[in-house]
Point group: C2
Chain length 337, copies 2
Amino acid sequence: MRDTHVTMAHGGGGRAMKELIEAVFTSVFQPESSEDQARLMAAALQEPGARLAFTTDSFVVTPLEFPGGDIGKLAVCGTVNDLAVGGARPLWLSAAFIIEEGCEIALLRRIAATMAAEAQSAGVRIVTGDTKVVERGKGDGVFVTTSGIGVIPPGCDIGAAHIQPGDAVIVNGVLGDHGATILAARGDLALSTDIQSDCASLGALMQAALAAAPLHAARDCTRGGLASALNELATEAGVAVEIDEALLPLRPEVVGVCEILGLDPLYLANEGRLVLFCPGASAPAILEAMRSLPEGEGAVVIGQVKPGPAGQVSMRTRFGGARRVDMLVGEQLPRIC
Amino acid sequence: MRDTHVTMAHGGGGRAMKELIEAVFTSVFQPESSEDQARLMAAALQEPGARLAFTTDSFVVTPLEFPGGDIGKLAVCGTVNDLAVGGARPLWLSAAFIIEEGCEIALLRRIAATMAAEAQSAGVRIVTGDTKVVERGKGDGVFVTTSGIGVIPPGCDIGAAHIQPGDAVIVNGVLGDHGATILAARGDLALSTDIQSDCASLGALMQAALAAAPLHAARDCTRGGLASALNELATEAGVAVEIDEALLPLRPEVVGVCEILGLDPLYLANEGRLVLFCPGASAPAILEAMRSLPEGEGAVVIGQVKPGPAGQVSMRTRFGGARRVDMLVGEQLPRIC
């Protein structure tokens, strides 16, 4: 392929499009057939009682490349994680690209390469895809939409509805690295940090936790951060959640960035962090299982579930007080994922 | 919901986003749970030998609403059709929206309503979704990405590899209505026509054809039109395809628009048209089955498969000559779907 930049012809359905797709995407993702739909079979799907998990996310992060990842890694991890936190084993992904005219083809190649590498390490295959091209000024480089299919094995049933008073609340590592990284990478704040995005696939971590001891629910803490995930879960479960400021794993650099900018790390986005609810008795075994994997090294209990008031999330501060941790109002950081 | 237009806060992961999603999308699509992944079970999936079909498409059509449909109808039909032409019964869709700041919420509501209605009539459910917001000038109203899952029943195996010399080539109706409609709807050509997009879900039509007689392959004729679909299939199958100009179903208005603009209707996009390959002996039964449904009323044989030269598509003209029908070079009409 000799073109260096995407033109409108690359979206036209003809020869140029075919070339772009073959040179940049299918040569890297290697789908099994040239049909427009992947045809898949998995023994796991046919086990009686197995359920299929299905999820989708669009990614519009800016900048497209940042320390610790790029939009492609984000798109694979994000969709893998949405499947994983529901107890599913992620199997197959689709990838759809909306490309702005003028986008550098070398950039698309780098993104496709990251996606293929991340998919391989997460044990999933990118089996089908699509490309569209929009005129200059009608998009922003490239947007990526991934959808994912996984299998929830028979007997696995986790979710907000299972959360109980007394449950331990666990996170798998320091909070806010992704949000702080994107902030710093945008450049206009003249922040210089060594923080990298936490962007990671959490399929193996969830499987390890599920195998270790009974657990009730998990959710990835992306847009809106830990605070938003806790609020959603507390509302859906009709319970209260109390976290302890002294137990929160926070990197001093992230706290620093937040102090300068007046942000709250509880609302900073993460892309490789989840919050997990389990019976108090399960916590030691689950923590041990999580800590045995690099993406769970920093796993800690940060709080517990109370009977009520339903939907309320609060934090015991370092000074012994308590403050309400509400749902994010307004926007903290646009286009974080 | 009191906002009338989308702001960046609607993409922030907090309260405003939750409101937008509930008011505009989940209240209409009614997914079964508030978890971020749909959890699905279908008896059809557990039949021994059943395969899962998985596909994705982004839609960036402009204008967003046009005679005969809108971007939402297109997104449902396009993904249903990608599943259907592979022999799958479409079951579940995901829908991801990339919304430009300033987009009218009433427009989003209309799009969601069309999607829900089309999904219902096609017999599929929209089970999971996502919304992102990008700044004004970094998107174009709204882009929609749908992914779809269907089940290919045991024993059903169609695709380009099965096409044989002697096969009849069938289309299900007049060609080019969608392309001509979008052209006219863009306004700057001052064309006034009564043509409507052919946008339609073809799941029932494919099932009827499959039940009627053995068939080898089918493909929807979208971007790049009939010519591109035939070229792809001829190349993948290693055969030649010869179509007959006198047999092509063309609406005089579409021919007129093409003549004015110097376009070729063979390359105009369709969104409710497929081309189907079957043994000559199957053709009468398949035509009869297709014609019994509104979306197949205009079904006709337009040509047949020859042993070679591999990958070559040609057309016998009305004047007894022959011309090569090549893959589209360059772009004919940007952002048609």
